[in-house]
Symmetry: C2
Subunit: 379 residues, 2 copies
């Protein structure tokens, strides 16, 4: 067994106090010696995914962010609105580590062959608490990166790639032949577009800004509808007629979009209906909400018959439902196509301390396409 | 083969014209001679269920109802708002018969033994077009009524009883142990309450008016929550803690109630949670919308984690999914318990012509609990 070369490192923590304050700080944590099937990773790249940002800030009001402490050891505070405190009840006064995934170099390994085989290698890790300088993790939580991939290129090997692959697999498993995706110009959306182009699956991309139409068009996307267009509903219906898509994955959640997708699906289906049915078409139409870019209420105008479903979709229950072997197959595809299909891009690389600067939070906190940050905890 | 004793009879028809007018009238239709496996029924009782009222008036504005014609042959007209015409496209200018179910006496029968066995008997029928004086239907669409049941008692043998039984069966099939029902003081709701009391299933009844609490209380209901109460959310959460219900059937559809049920389910589940999960509990929470008493938008405040579903639920696809043998078992139970568990009550019995009087429409058109009409086409 190798002894870790660093016995402790900094870790980013998020706490929401019973008093209604969010506190973010950097705390030194011990790095445990690895057990037989564990390795210690020096984390050099961890993305700020929307799901991480959700845990990081909780229900705090980002307009109230204040920074104190020192440049090396900043402390961020913000106010959690009273009405949102109930949803935070289960995490109150707990100092929580953040960061679902990341990548780095294995600097110590346990005694097992599998652990020893990773020593000195670049690995992607899905283990939580990745906004840390060092992480002791199980070998099975690691994915060996291809030799020509950088640690930054491997940082987002799990959440976005497996989510995009999971959407395609869910579409197939539930008997649909094409799919719809919202916030389609995101890193995840661009990845899904590349998967669908490669695998010959029809995809309807919904974006919110006209300039995002061009981003996707240049990447070969065929069906792109902008909610900013006055002809959005007609455009979407036409794309649904052309593709036959009857399942959608929605990252936005709030507002009217999820319901509008069902409305346009029903219009597309009934455009070829032979007779009137008072309960609408008998084709099942499904929208899965997998994100909450708009945390406001979801408003559904039920003008699409009775054969529909809406619900939450999450990566981890999906992975559990397909079983470890199928997950392994998906991960191997990600490793093989890491620099092509599953490539990610970032606006900026920041250190742990820089990630706690109000200027940085004001940008990546928007969780908007084109404002994605990567943390290098060892910068 | 017997010749029908009446060669024609009146039938209620609903038409929505391309010009945006609803027209209801009574038209004489020929009664066909029954084929071997058919019988002719003299219809004497057919309920005005919410689903019938939906087909009868379509998207017409009930405030614009006008009556012309003669007392024996009235003609009702009403205006369909321009914005709602798209949803009516598939039925425009079609003269549609109405009435899912009813009951009557078999006055002619085809040559088969099964048909002959029904001659002179009282039967319940699920065949559509039941707002008719005579209906020629297949034997398999009939349910022989118990000798001590009146035709009026048999009029609602299918839609409400099979829907209530279908809810309980759906609850079991999808792995839930208790259920929630809205508009719970309706005929259907009272029936569901009797089924649950008899079968030992915990039921949470949601009503909209304080006086409906008493109606259900007198019938032995244990958990009754009124949306009119200022403590509705707390009451519902407590009832969900007590019952463990994680599936709901909602007749209302519009407004906030469907989402509030998910919110309270999540609160009830997480009241015993051991640790914080940023995605909420992992217990699946489901609301099925099976009616549209409120046709306005459904507004969902997504504060109940990611493990949830909402969707449409309809009787006929459910019956198809369980297969003919299981359906037969359900129907036999309905016949056995017609005067107890599956008893219905009506505010008033009207003739076909009386059902087209503006005063009658103003009452049963509300589709509200305690304003349920029964049509006797041979009155």
């Amino acid at each position: 067994m190798n002894t870790p070369s660093h016995s402790s490192g900094l870790q980013l923590r998020s706490t929401i106090t019973s008093g209604g304050q969010l506190v973010l700080d950097l705390v030194p944590v011990e790095t445990p010696a690895p057990a037989a099937d564990e390795v210690v990773v020096r984390v050099e790249a961890a993305p700020l995914n929307p799901s991480d940002i959700g845990l990081l800030f909780g229900a705090a009001d980002l307009a109230s962010v204040q920074c104190s402490g020192t440049p090396q050891s900043p402390i961020v505070t913000a106010t959690v609105p009273q009405g949102a405190m109930r949803s935070m009840a289960a995490r109150l006064d707990q100092s929580m580590p953040v960061g679902n995934e990341g990548a780095g170099v294995v600097i110590a390994a346990g005694s097992s062959d599998a652990a020893q085989a990773l020593l000195g290698k670049k690995v992607a890790v899905l283990a939580g608490a990745m906004y840390s300088q060092y992480r002791c993790v199980k070998v099975e939580q690691c994915l060996l990166l291809p030799p020509d991939a950088s640690v930054a290129e491997g940082a987002s090997s799990f959440v976005n790639p497996l989510t995009a692959l999971g959407m395609v697999q869910t579409m197939r498993r539930e008997g649909h032949k094409a799919l719809v995706h919202t916030a389609a110009a995101s890193n995840l959306g661009q990845m899904l577009n590349r998967i669908c182009l490669k695998d010959g699956i029809a995809l309807v991309n919904i974006v919110r800004k006209p300039e995002q139409v061009e981003v996707l068009r240049k990447q070969g996307a065929v069906h792109i509808c902008s909610t900013a267009s006055p002809t959005f509903m007609e455009d979407l219906t036409q794309a649904l007629v052309a593709t036959g898509a009857t399942i959608a994955f929605d990252a936005i959640g709030g507002g009217k979009l999820a319901g509008q997708i069902l409305t346009c699906m029903e219009r597309a289906i009934s455009s070829s209906a032979k007779e009137y049915s008072r309960y609408g078409s008998t084709t099942h139409k499904q929208v899965y909400i997998y994100g909450g870019l708009d945390m406001g209420p979801t408003e559904i105008q039920r003008n699409f018959g009775m054969t529909w479903g809406m619900g939450g979709w999450l990566l981890f229950p999906f992975l559990q439902s397909i079983g470890p072997e199928a997950v392994q197959t998906l991960k191997q595809r990600v490793a093989r196509e890491l620099k092509t299909t599953f490539a990610s891009s970032y606006t900026r690389v920041v250190s742990l301390a820089e990630a706690l600067q109000p200027e940085a939070i004001a940008i990546y906190g928007q969780r908007s396409t084109g404002a994605k940050y990567l943390i290098n905890p060892n910068l």
